[in-house]
Every structure is written in structure tokens, then in C-alpha cells.
Symmetry: C3
Subunit: 441 residues, 3 copies
């Protein structure tokens, strides 16, 4: 190497160094570092998780408001108990049954073992294992919350808890493994971003089977097809519950982006917030206008369920729709609620809070409409997902309900139902000082 | 270029490269990267946004608790409907009317077009467009929530909704463009950090016009100037609503820092949290002590409104005050509430929840006191802002209320008002089982 | 320097530049930058802080639901007042008394001066000073909330407020300085991660002294040792309060990691969320099963208190336990509640909401069990902490209560207690329209 060559080499190195330095500069000045990504994605799970956790309070208030005062304490007890049981079961077997050891693209379930939460420093991957478990657990609990509303005011406490344990520990995780565990539904291209099918329809199917096997509340369906409305005890609590659910849904859908470490992720989570809110708002407005047109009056519970139906509808795909599409998807959720609630009554399926229209039917709608805005989804795969989850959850739920019915029994006695479950089953009245003066059945 | 020159160039390049590398090093070890800043600022909008969104639940509970039980369902319906309508209108026209195409420093409005939420990767700027829209939308909705409380218990549902659509789609965005859209008020140096004037006074003026045009509730003002107190149906719900509003206010004021990418931003948001809490606490304590002194007893609704008045007062400038100043600003908010509530009654302006003292008067106070702690603000510009927004919102609101009154009518019939709006307008009672045994008018 | 030397230097510089650039590259791809760490840790304090702040609403609802309707307005007023007083006192003297100028390892208190919140850009350290103050303040307020429940329905408003001011401004900060202020308890190795002793037992001891000195509610303890149950007015509000507390506890325990700038921190916060939820769930399930076995029925208030006892139990050490241990620790919290509630009644200590079993006894249990999972803790140090805090808080609280009793008096008159504090003390009934028809004493 002569001097000139050496000189040239130095120049090249120097220029390379400048380029490298520029790249480092660019790197330093644009992308988040790996640790920052890890922290931000974990934070998304934790924030999303506590918002969805609070949906347990939302379901509790919605249901406490929509049952009669004689059953309110029981409904409160069921809600805090189901959230607790779900939290334990999803740790003991649920999480790993859903996520661990599922054969990619073809698997039908994982391995039912307790979830290991690695010690502080041993974590690896894109986010903290504990944040992921927490986020997935609250989804599992939400599924169980859906069931408790439909079958309220007549189911006994312990059979309900046993069903909840099986739903959250076995049924929900197995069907969840098919898609979110990267199993066979994921393999065929099924798409369910935040759980219109995996969470809401699953809860809806389990509730539907329970309602059918349990039968309607005494006095709900009179002779000659007469349907007796049974008003709830507290509209403000039901309204509060709906607002809490709406609030929590930003965690439900936003957190399902599963990452917050890039500007693309941040944009996506933001867009999800926008679409989630637009769909819910459209559900409310459509439900109010439709009830005004169809029934010539308004109905606050229809407005509340309109919000929830809009939210469920957008949950299968809150990212790809344009705002206009989000409004349309949520608005049709509102239509579904207004027409499905009386339809269920005609079928004499007694759904105390309207969870089947809101979670099951709007969940199916939301799932089937995904291909309109998401090019990666197909109607075929969506239909296969809806049907397969529907069959599995319905059949397995029905089996559990029927076994419970045949063994320990699932329904309170007619006397207890008349007197209210609060006195009969738990001995704590919800409002012991307020005289009943209304038209309660 | 001779060899020496070339050599020298190489050396310079090399030294430049070292310097560049050191700079990159320094960069990497202190400042957040550009992407991290983008993510953190978007996260601030999203967190602030969901906190403010939850204020919709707070307003709903506050109002549900402060109206009589015969009007509670209607108040719940109005609250979920107004939040939904605001969410749609602020997307259809509101956001761009407020922020898009406003002539900097002189503009009076933007362009009323739907807001485009860019697809995931196309975003640019300092934060995700969707997060910004969401954050601004919930402020717009809060403005409408203020109105619903004042004019409760006698306004018909549909006129209220039409007014809400105009307020959130047109009136609020136009005046908002003057300052936050960087229009003419911003040009003259008006300062309103988080909206004492833009949100709270705006809502307050619209509510005041509604209350005047609508008239008082039947039985509120008797003969010989007698003022009949009409107690609300549920103090715990009103308390819950106040706590939720306080909780949401951390998002309201903290998120209005609009950035979270530097330690300066993080310090500012933190200081805002501190001042926000101190002002609210002072509002409560002052209101309690004053009612004790003036009326020789305490009044829980005064304490609740003291908290809200403290919060509104600090909202125009939650960053620059020292803690002592924040306590003083919020405390005087509490004074305003205690004296303004009976003053309004003397004027026979029937404000069901006390929103005019809390949001309008404390909002003016908070705006006018900004120059005491923020050297960039002047009393002149603050006064111009308060007056111009006041005139615009009052006049435009009054026109809309009067047109509605002259066309479809805005007030329920006397019979319906007596019986309650729940039976008359929506057919769903709030508490159907609880006998009315109190002194309700 | 000859040409070759210069050349060589250039080459070395160039190579050094490349190496530097690589290092910058490596730096950029792993750790968060210093500013990012500062922002993220501040964000953890702010998020944790607003979650714990919302616990004030949780305590308010829990207590409003568990007192009789004639005392609900007063309970609401006390709760918003105590949160406000705590917020002011902890700024005026509390924070610095707890954290500023405590002699490391041996100190017994700091300096009672107002907390300075540095101006925006002047901050230094690992997080924003304001975020830290806010986070610590809400812990102080939570301590006062614990007291208000136990002594409800018979204590006068102003003595309660004076006690709250002393507790939050002096008593809580002094004992807090021993451990969290890095004083003498920290010096001997006492360990209390998020405050089983420092917050919950402290509140519990103060409540216990109040309950003893104040005496039981009229009619609670009859002749011949008969214990009259006095049911609360609203189980759904109590349930809501419990869910809000559970929700807020993620901020309470998770935020107590005090940092979010490394993957280790993010993992730790996540694990804390998991353990916190598992412990609470176990508390609920154990309480329900035990009441079923022992009393042959369920009791919703026991389930609610089981959740809270589980949460308090895990609060002293939510990080080191494995999930199994977290379940065990929380489950035993549930056991404590079920057996301690009737035990207190036998001692004729009238604790309206069960705060002494939940916060004091489960707090002691949680503190004493730390050494089982945390190798840095010793039973000796834990016992010293529990006992010393217990003695200090009990004695100082008792002195304050006794002075208040001897001077202005602490208990309402028998007539006022019978009629209810809402009419007697504040003139605002909680539910003025609902006839009392129940078995209220």
C-alpha cells in the first residue's frame, strides 16, 4: 500500500465513519431503543389491562341496575366472584392452554399448566410476560361477565361459579388458542383483532345456552304470548356501567395492538381509539333514532345497549376501517340491538340485560364485516371462525349446564325467585331501607 | 487538490466523524429519540383523552344525582346521547372547523370538513393525528355536558340534541379556532391553557342562555320571591360524579401540555397535576368553611361544587402558578360558588346543578387571573378573550334556542313536567321499585 | 509531525470514529435514554397517582353503601373533605416532614416545611418532583380514608376534619419517614413495599383508637351480648367502591416500583400487577367459601372485604412472591376478615365498614409474611416495624382523639344520631324521595 493508497483508505474510513456516525445519529434521533420499546409495549398492556379490569365494575353496575332490587346483592356477589374465579383459573390453566405449546397454524389447544411469571430480570421478548398475562386475563374475565347478565335473577350462585370456572379455565382458552394462540383458525386466515368472536360471541353463546337450559324468569312470559317487561331497579347504575364499559373499551381495543414501540404502533392505537369511539357513538344515535321511529318513544336501556353493540361491532377490526366505515359498522350494531331484543322475547329466551343481542349478534356482525376493510381477511375464514367457535362454545357450554342441572341443580326454587335471591341465597338485601312501591313483579 | 490538501481533508473528515459520533453518543444517552417523543406525546393524548372521556360518566352521575328521581332516566339518556352526538359532530365538521385552515394570528374559523385520520404508517408530526383528534373531541363533549345539567328537568329531548349538535359541531369549534386553532385571539396574546374560557365558560354561556329562554322549573320560584329548594335524588351519585370529574381533570389539564417527549414536558405535566389537585382541594375546603360561617351549617352539594369550581379556576393556567397561588386561585373558585348559587336564584335563573357558577363564573375568574402568574399573558388580552367568546357563544346559543323554541318547542308540557320526564318522554323510570316518600315537588 | 504521522493519525481518528459510531449504535439499540427514563418514571408516578387518587371515590362509595341512608350525605361530605384536607396538609408540612432532611438510617422525622415543586425546567433526578409529590400525597389521603369508614354514623364533622389534618400532616408523615423517608426503620432493614404497615395499618390503628374512644353506634350492641346487625343502605355502591379500590390498587402497588425506565422495572411492575390481582381474587374466593362453610350462607360484604383484605395483604411485598405465594398471602387475608369481623363485635368495637380487619389486621399479616419471599427482610425487622408504627400511631391518635373529646367533643347527640347525621349536621338528605320502609334501626 503506498502512501496515496493509505491516504485514500484513511479518507474512505473517515467518510465511512462519518456515514456510520450519521446513521447512528439517525438511529438515535428516530427509532426508540429496544428497551424503550419493551417498556412502552408493556405499559400499553398494563394500561389496557387496568382499563379492561375496570370493565368488571362496568358489568357489575350495568347488571345491578338492570335486575330488580330483590336480586341486586346477588348480582354484585356474582360479579366480584366471577372476576376472581376467572383471574385464578386463567392463571392455573387458562393462559397456557390458550398460548403455550399450540401448534402454529394447525393447533387446537395448548398445554393446561400454570403460567410462569418470570422473575424480574429474566424477562425477554417484546414486553414483560406479566403485563401480557394481566392483559389476556382481563379479556377472559370479560367473557364470563357477559354470561352473568343474561341468566341473572334465577340461577343459583354455586352452579354459576362452577360454570364460570370451566368457561374461563377451559372453554374460553381452547377456542382462544385457535386464533390468538396462533392455532388452526389463525392458519386459515381468520381475523379477530380484539375479540368480537373470541370474547363477545363466546360469552354470548355461553349465555344463550344458559338462558335456554335455565328457562325464563317467572312471570316474564304470560299466557297468549304476552311479554311482561320487567324493569331494572336503577337506570343510573346501568348508565354508569355502560360508561365504564365504554371507558374500558379503549383498553380492550387499543391494547390489542399489542405493541407501542414504534410511531406506527402509536398511530394504530390512536386510530383504534377514534374508530372505537365513533362506532359506539353511532350505535347510540342509531338506537335512539330507531326506537323513536319504531316505538314512537325513546328507551334509555336501548341507548345503552346501542353503545355496547357499537363497541362490540368494531372490536373485530378497529384499525382498518375509515371513520365513515367505523360509524357504519357501529350504527348497524345499534340496529341489531333494537330489532334483536324483541325477537329474543318472541323466542321466549329471557336475557335480563340484553347481552345476547349486544355481545353475540353484534359480535357476529363485527366479525363478518372485517373483510370489507381488511384485505387480509376473507368472508370464508370469518364464517369458519364464527361457526366453529359458535359450535364449540355452544355445545361445550350446553353440556356443562346440563350436567350441572342434572346434578346439583341450577335454578333457585320458585319461592326464592319470588322473594328474591338476596334474601334466599345470601341474606343481604341490596337496599334494606327503601320501601318497594313500584310495579315489581 | 494536492496530496497534503487531500490528507488534510481526510483528517478533517475524520475529526468531524469523531465529533459526530460523540454527538450521537451524547444524543443517545440523554434526549429521547424522535420516535419515542412521538409515542410518548401520543400516549399523553390517549391517556388524557380516556380520562376526559370518563368525565362524561362524571357529568352523568352528577346530574343524575342532582335531579329528582322522576327525571333521572331522561338525564342519563341525555348524557349518553350528547357524548355520542358530540363525538360524531366533532368528526364530521368540528375538528377541522377548529383547527384546519385557520389563518394564523387572525383567523376566525377553519374549514368545516370531516377529519381525516391518516392510515397507520402515513402519520407525521409530533404525535399521532388520531390521538390528537380523540383528545380534542372529549373536550368538545365536556362543553356539551355542562349545558345538560343546568337545563335539566324541563327541556325536551330532541331540541336538546339538536342544540348539542350545533354547539359541538359549530359554536364550540368556531370560538375554539380563535385561540387553540391559532386564530385571532391567539394573535393578540390571549392565554387559556386547558379551557377555563374555551370549554367551561362556553358551556356556561350556552347553559345560561338555555336557562333564561327555557325558564325555571315549575314550583322553583314561589310568590313573594320565595325560593323553593328542590333537592336532588341521590347525593352519593352526585359525589361519585364529582370524584370522577376530579379524576378526569388530571387528563384535562395534564394532557393539555400537548407533549411528553422531554423532561421539561414531564415536569410540566407533573406540576399541572399538583396545581390541579391543590386548587380543587382548596375549593372544597373554602366552600365548606364558608357555608359553615354564612349558613351555620354544611352543604355537601356546595362542597362538591367547590371542588369543581376550584378545578375550573385553575384550568386556564395550571402550569405557572406556584402551589400557594394554585391554592388561592382554587379557593376563590370556592368563594364564587358559595355566593353565586343564591345570587342566580335571586335572578330567578334556575340552574339545576349549579353549572353556571362552577363553569361560567369560575371560568371567567380563572381566565382573568392568568396574568398574575404567567408573564406572557395580559389582562387586556384575557378580557378580550372572555368578552368575545362570551358574546359569540351567548348570541349564537340564544339564536339557536329561540329558533328551536319558535319551531319545534323546547319545553315539556306542565303535566309532563309534574309527572316527570321519565314517564312522559321515555317511558322508563329510573327507580321503578322505590316508593316516593319524600318532599319532592 | 510528518506527513506519514499525520496520515496515521487521520487513520486512527477515522477508525476511532467508526468504533465510536458502533458504540453509539449499540447504545441506541438497547437502553432507554436518560430523558426517556425520567419521562417514563414520571409517567408511572402520574398514572399510579391518578389511579390511587380515584381510590378516594372508591372509599366514598364503599362507605356510602355501608352506612344507613340517614348518614350517607355526611359520609360523602367527609370523604371529599378528607381527601382535600390531606392534599393540602401533605403539601404544607407532610411531604417534607416525611422525606426532606431525614437522617439516613437513623432519622425519626424530616423538616415540616411546604414542598417546593420546582419550575418546569429546573427539575433534576430520576423523575419529576411534582409527579413524586402527587403519588405520595394520594397514599397519605388513602390513610385518612381508612379512618372515616370505621367511625362513621356517629362522629361529628369538624372533629373528624381536625383529626384528619393532624393525621395527614403529622402522624402519617412521621412514621412514614422512618421507612420511606429512609429513616431508622429503613436502617434496620424493615421492608414495606407499598404500605401494608405504613398506609393500611396506620389508618387501621387510627381508626381503632377512634372507634374505642368514640364508642359504638346506638343500638349496635344490645343487652346480654346481643349484636344487632346494621345493614348498609346500598350494596351496589359498596360493590362499586370495592371495584374502584381494586382498580386503584394497581397504581398503589405498581407505582410503588418508583421507576419505569428499564426492562427490569417494566417486568417488576407487571409482576406486581399479576400478584396484586391474584391476591385479591384469592381473598374473594376464600372469604366466600369460608362464609359458606362457617355460616352456611354467603355474604356479599364479606366477599368485598375479602378482596380488600387480599389487596392489603399483598401490599407489603407484591413483587417477590411467586403467583402461588401471592394467592396464599391474599387468601389468608380473606380468612382474617371472616374471623376478625365477628371477633371485633365480641369486643364491642363498632367498625362500620370492617376497616380494622381489612386494613389493620391484614396489613400486619402482609407485613409479617414478607420474609417468606423476600430474602432481604427479617421477621425481627418486620416485627419492629409493625410494633413501633402501631405504638406510635395508636398513642398519638388516641391523644388527639382524647383532646378533641375533652374540648369540642367528638360525638353527635343521641337525638341527632337517631335522626341521622344528614338532617342534623348538614341539612341535605342523601335520598330525600325514597321512603324508608326497611328495618333500619
Amino acid at each position: 500500500m503506498n502512501l496515496y493508497q493509505k491516504f485514500t483508505l484513511a479518507g474512505v474510513l473517515a467518510i465511512g465513519a462519518v456515514a456510520g456516525s450519521d446513521a447512528a445519529f439517525a438511529q438515535a434521533s428516530t427509532e426508540a431503543t429496544a428497551d424503550t420499546k419493551y417498556i412502552l409495549s408493556s405499559l400499553l398492556f398494563l394500561i389496557g389491562g387496568f382499563l379492561v379490569m375496570f370493565m368488571a365494575a362496568g358489568f357489575a353496575m350495568l347488571e345491578a341496575g338492570l335486575v330488580r332490587s330483590k336480586n341486586v346483592s346477588m348480582q354484585c356477589l356474582k360479579n366480584i366472584a366471577l372476576y376472581s374465579v376467572a383471574g385464578l383459573m386463567f392463571w392455573v390453566v387458562g393462559y397456557n392452554l390458550m398460548y403455550d405449546g399450540v401448534t402454529a397454524g394447525t393447533g387446537w389447544m395448548g398445554t393446561p399448566t400454570p403460567k410462569v411469571i418470570p422473575a424480574t430480570d429474566a424477562d425477554a421478548g417484546d414486553y414483560a410476560a406479566g403485563s401480557d398475562w394481566f392483559f389476556q386475563m382481563v379479556f377472559c374475565a370479560a367473557t364470563a361477565s357477559i354470561v352473568s347478565g343474561t341468566i341473572a335473577e334465577r340461577i343459583r350462585f354455586w352452579p354459576f361459579i362452577i360454570f364460570t370456572a370451566i368457561l374461563t379455565g377451559i372453554i374460553y382458552p381452547i377456542q382462544g388458542s385457535w386464533e390468538w394462540g396462533a392455532g388452526w383458525l389463525d392458519g386459515i386466515g381468520f381475523s379477530d383483532f380484539a375479540g368480537s368472536t373470541l370474547v363477545h360471541s363466546t360469552g354470548g353463546w355461553a349465555a344463550l345456552m344458559g338462558a335456554i337450559i335455565l328457562g325464563a324468569r317467572a312471570g316474564k312470559y304470560g299466557e297468549n304470548g304476552r311479554i311482561n317487561p320487567i324493569p331494572g331497579s336503577s337506570i343510573p347504575l346501568a348508565t354508569l356501567g355502560t360508561f365504564i364499559l365504554w371507558f374500558g373499551w379503549f383498553g380492550f381495543n387499543g391494547g390489542s395492538q399489542l405493541a407501542m414501540g414504534t410511531i406506527s404502533d402509536a398511530s394504530s392505537v390512536s386510530r383504534i381509539f377514534v374508530n372505537t369511539n365513533l362506532a359506539a357513538a353511532a350505535g347510540v344515535v342509531v338506537a335512539i333514532i330507531l326506537t323513536q321511529i319504531v316505538y314512537k318513544k325513546m328507551d334509555v336501556t336501548m341507548a345503552l345497549n346501542g353503545a355496547l353493540a357499537g363497541l362490540v361491532s368494531i372490536t373485530a377490526e378497529p384499525l382498518t376501517p375509515s371513520p365513515v366505515m367505523a360509524i357504519m359498522i357501529g350504527g348497524i350494531g345499534g340496529v341489531i340491538v333494537v330489532f334483536a331484543v324483541p325477537m329474543l322475547d318472541k323466542l321466549k329466551i329471557d336475557d335480563v340485560v340484553g347481552a345476547i343481542p349486544v355481545h353475540l349478534l353484534a359480535g357476529i356482525w363485527g366479525t363478518m364485516v372485517v373483510p370489507l376493510t381488511n384485505g387480509d381477511a376473507t368472508f370464508y375464514a370469518q364464517a369458519v371462525g364464527v361457526i366453529s367457535v359458535g359450535i364449540f362454545v355452544s355445545v361445550s357450554s350446553a353440556i356443562v349446564w346440563l350436567i350441572l342441572k342434572a346434578t346439583i341443580g341450577i335454578r333457585v326454587s320458585p319461592e326464592e325467585e319470588l322473594e328474591g335471591l338476596d334474601k334466599g341465597e345470601i341474606g343481604v338485601e341490596a337496599y334494606p331501607e327503601f320501601a318497594r312501591g313500584g310495579s315489581a313483579i
